[in-house]
Structures are given as C-alpha cells and as structure tokens.
C-alpha cells in the first residue's frame, strides 16, 4: 500500500462526488439545518418555560449533539454508494485493477473519500450548533455548556468509528447489490440503531455521559474490526472481477 496511491484514489472519488449535486447538498444541508434549528428549539423551550430546571436543558443539549450521529451514520453512504456501486455498474473498477495499485490502496482510498467529507461537514455543523446552543442556554445556565469531556469523545472517537462502520457496511452491501438506490436503502438501516439511541437519550432512558460514550465507541470499534475484515475479503481483485460483474 502506498500513500500516493491511496491519495490518488481518494482524490478522484472526492472529485467525482463533488460533481454530484445530491452529494453536495446532502453534505451541506442536513448538518447545517440541524446546526441552526436545534439551538432554536433550545430557545423555544427556555422562552416558553422560564422556570425549566437547568438539568433538563443540559440533557436536551447533550442529546441534541448526539443527533449529529445520525448524519455521521448516513452521509458516508451517499458517497460510497456511487464510488462502489456506481463504479460497479459502469465497470470502472476494471481498468483500476489493471494498474499496479494494490486493492488495499483502492479500498482505503474509497473509505477515506466517504469518511473525510462526512466528518468535516459534521464537525463544522456541530461546532456551529455548540456555539449557538451555548448562547441560547447562557441566560439559564450562566456559563457555556459546550465543549465538555463527552463532546471530545463523541466528536473524535465515536463519530469517526461510526462513519467507518457505515462505509464498511456499504462495501459489504455493494458486493451484493447492483444498483445505487437499493444499496442506499439497505445502508439507510444503519441509521435505525443510532436513531434509537438518540430517542432513548431524549426520553431520558440512556445517559450519554463519558462512560456510556466510551462503551459505545468500544462496541463500534469492535464492529469496525469485524466488518473491515469482511470488507477486505469481498474487495479482492479476483472477487471484484468475477463476482461483481
């Protein structure tokens, strides 16, 4: 595996992804819409119930930040489904396999191309959210709520791990499915457990504190390892040529 090769693949996929309006909007709209609308909800809550307990607002803020996990576990699919299934349909992987590049580099390049823009979009959006949310909650909490220890665990450990898991699952799906749309639908199911946790947090049945976030990260990393192993097995030169055709 060579860094240059990986960069060439990732660069190409990023460039190709960027030419698609759907991907540009997806990366921009969903995270930014959340970044601006969630603080607005905080404002409404405080405005309508000035006597609300600070702890309730803190819980709200904490689970709102977790809301961005939904973006993390869905956005990579938008890019990966084109970079994998799109290429499968157009058979543009075949000429790639005719180059000296190793399949490992191809795989890694495609993973980076899907994960990197997602993380950047979500990091930017959650930063905006935290800034605005701090301002909205300042009247009640008298100090900035974000960032806290959990914030860093969520942004720098759990989110990258979750984005990677989504891409791994995309790769596994792409070996079986022949069109972009159905791949996106199947991969969309990844969002369900994440949304479930979000709702549970919102209802107060899960406390998203540091310990819980570390446990989730560990669980996702374990899944990452398993799916990565499986992904390298389906993403093999011979396998792609013979079975993906």
């Amino acid at each position: 595996m060579r860094i240059d090769d990986v960069a060439a693949i990732a660069g190409k996929d990023l460039r190709a992804a960027w030419t698609r309006k759907g991907i540009r909007y997806g990366l921009g709209i969903f995270p930014l819409l959340s970044a601006f609308s969630l603080p607005f909800v905080v404002r409404l809550v405080i405005h309508q119930r000035p006597d609300v307990a600070p702890a309730v607002v803190e819980d709200l803020l904490r689970s709102f930040l977790f809301f961005f996990m939904i973006a993390v576990s869905s956005l990579p699919t938008a890019i990966a489904s084109y970079a994998l299934i799109g290429e499968k349909v157009e058979r543009s992987l075949e000429p790639l396999l005719a180059t000296p590049i190793s399949v490992g580099s191809v795989l890694l390049g495609k993973m980076i191309a899907a994960v990197l823009p997602t993380l950047i979009a979500v990091w930017v959006a959650s930063s905006v959210f935290m800034l605005l949310a701090n301002r909205e909650a300042a009247s009640l909490l008298h100090q900035s709520y974000f960032p806290r220890a959990e914030t860093w665990i969520l942004l720098l450990a759990l989110m990258p791990a979750a984005a990677l898991l989504t891409v791994n699952i995309d790769i596994l799906i792409s070996a079986r499915v022949a069109d972009v749309r159905s791949a996106q639908q199947i991969a969309g199911l990844v969002v369900l457990p994440v949304s479930g946790i979000y709702v549970a947090a919102q209802l107060g049945s899960v406390q998203l504190d540091s310990a819980v976030l570390w446990i989730m990260t560990a669980a996702v990393l374990a899944l990452d390892a398993i799916t990565l192993w499986a992904a390298t097995r389906v993403f093999d030169r011979e396998e792609i040529l013979i079975r993906w055709g």
Binding site: R2, A8, I9, K12, A16, R91, P95, L241, I242
Partner: protein, 305 residues
C-alpha cells in the same frame, strides 16, 4: 513478450479457457478471433494480470503474473471490452488520474495528457465530461488512457464492437500508428475484417480452445479455398439443392439462408451448377475470408446472424 502453456481458467465446473498454448513476440500485432463466449476476454484478463489462472504456465514480459502482478501491470496498457471511463470527469481528468494510479509524476503527466489527447484527436474535448462524448470518442479516450504509462504491450478487448464504420476506421488508423511506433498489440475481436486489418498473426478461438493459428493469409490458405460461391435458393429449397450439388467444388456449407460452395474457381462452380438446371435467386463469387475459416473449423458462424 507473452508465453502461455496449458493456460486454463475455470469458473466452478465451467472451463472458460481450456489449456491453450501461444506466444506473442515483441513488436508483433497478435489477435484472438472468436465468437462471443469463446474465452477471449478471460484470456485477456489473465494476460493483464488481473485474473489468476486456474492452471498452466503464463509468462508476461518474462515474469509470472501470480508473483509479479504489479510489476507486470506497470508495463501493460489495457483497453477492457466495456468502455469504463469515469463519466463524471472530463477527458483530461480521466487521463491524468489514471496516470496517477501508475505513480507517474504530476509534471510528466501534464505534458503526457496533452500528447495523448492529441493522439486520440480529442483536443477540443479536453474539458468536456466523458458523458457527452460519442462512442468512438470514448473508445479513443480509453485507448489513450491505456497508453499513459507508455506500455510495452497494449491489450485491446473488442476495440470496435458497437462502433459505426467511420468510427472504426478512425480507430484502426490510430492503432496502425501505435504499431509503427513498435508497441506490441494484442487484440481480441469477433469481426473477421478487424482481425484481417489489425493482426499479423491470429489465434482462432472457440469454446475456450484454439482452433487454428497463423497469419490471416495462412489461415485462409490452409482452411479454406481461394474463392467462395454464395447461392440463395430461398429458405425452403436450400437443403434440397445442397444435397444435389454436394460434389461441386471442394466442399459446401449449407446455412439456413444460403449455400456456400468452396472452390478454387467460383465462376466455374457456378457454371457447373447452372448446367445442372438449378437457377439460384442470387449468386455471388467472392474471395475466402476468415469467416469461412471459422465456419470450416467449427461449423458455426462468427457473428450470430
């Protein structure tokens, strides 16, 4: 350049390429001629070091693809059967990015891309997305892409399938230039005219096996007569007439729509048939072609009609 012995590829129980032997010399234009499903693409993929052989020996540029895949691929140019360019990208980007996959330097590629666009006669389409190109242009761009690493051997899998006659001729002209520059060409095709145009030496393949090998002229001399008389009597009468004239010429082939009489002198064969009181709806004397060679060797036509 390329040497294969007992080269075999199996997919499960199915043998796509069945123990074939061949060799390609430096600077030569070598062809694989055969109908769909003959195993041409599978053979090409093994030569391109993208698919592993099931058994047999294979040596490309003096190396074994099982052990030296990347080194071999670095010196090959591959034009796959399906036009598989990156459609979201422009012509120039396609060439440039492909060059990066070979680890070529940016500075070198900047110049090379312009040179290849000129070669493919696509300078005006430099910044146009591949989506918007015609079939012939895409094909030329695919060939240009395969040349980005200045390969010693260029592998072309059905280069003109699906192109109109004019686009084919433009493409052949480009391939002639490459030959003049000393690039070794290996081409697969199911068009006999293409095989005759492009290949100095041919291997006729059918059902994973080699049926014959030699130059187009040699193959025609060995496996066919000089001329062919084509007769049509209408679909009902063909079989009946064929039986009655079975002794005219060297041999006959009765196809559903016509009878082919193989003879050194076609006109004389026609006179003989007319003198027996048969009057064909149409008759035509022509020179033997590779199509006739294939028909003789396999009893089937190259292109499903």
């Amino acid at each position: 350049m390329i040497r294969a012995q007992g080269l075999t590829k199996r997919y499960g129980d199915f043998t796509a390429v069945d123990s074939i032997d061949f060799a390609v010399r430096r600077g030569e234009s070598f062809g694989l001629l055969g109908p769909n499903g003959a195993g041409k693409s599978t053979t090409m993929r093994m030569i391109a070091a993208t698919t592993r052989r099931s058994s047999g020996e294979l040596e490309i540029l003096g190396k074994d693809p099982n052990r030296s895949g990347p080194e071999i691929r670095a010196h090959l140019g591959v034009v796959p059967q399906e036009g598989n360019l990156d459609t979201e990208l422009t012509c120039a980007e396609n060439l440039y990015i492909y060059g990066r996959y070979f680890g070529l330097a940016r500075g070198y590629l900047k110049l090379k891309v312009e040179e290849l666009l000129a070669f493919a006669q696509l300078e005006e389409k430099r910044d146009v997305k591949v989506d918007e190109l015609s079939g012939g242009m895409k094909r030329r761009l695919t060939i240009a892409r395969a040349l980005v690493n200045e390969p010693e051997v260029l592998l072309l899998d059905e280069p003109t399938t699906g192109l109109d006659p004019q686009a084919r001729h433009i493409l052949w002209d480009r391939l002639f230039r490459l030959r003049e520059q000393g690039v070794t060409l290996v081409t697969t095709t199911h068009f006999m005219d293409e095989a005759e145009q492009l290949c100095e030496r041919l291997m006729v393949m059918d059902r994973g096996r080699i049926m014959a090998e030699g130059s187009p002229q040699q193959l025609i001399r060995e496996h066919s007569t000089r001329e062919v008389l084509e007769l049509r009597f209408g679909s009902q009468r063909n079989a009946e007439v064929a039986a009655a004239i079975a002794d005219v010429g060297s041999y006959q082939e009765a196809l559903p729509d016509r009878i082919l009489v193989y003879a050194e002198d076609g006109e004389q064969a026609l006179r003989e048939i007319l003198s027996r009181g048969f009057d064909p709806l149409t008759s035509l004397v022509r020179r033997s072609s590779l199509e006739d060679v294939f028909l003789r060797l396999t009893g089937r036509t190259l292109v499903d009609e």
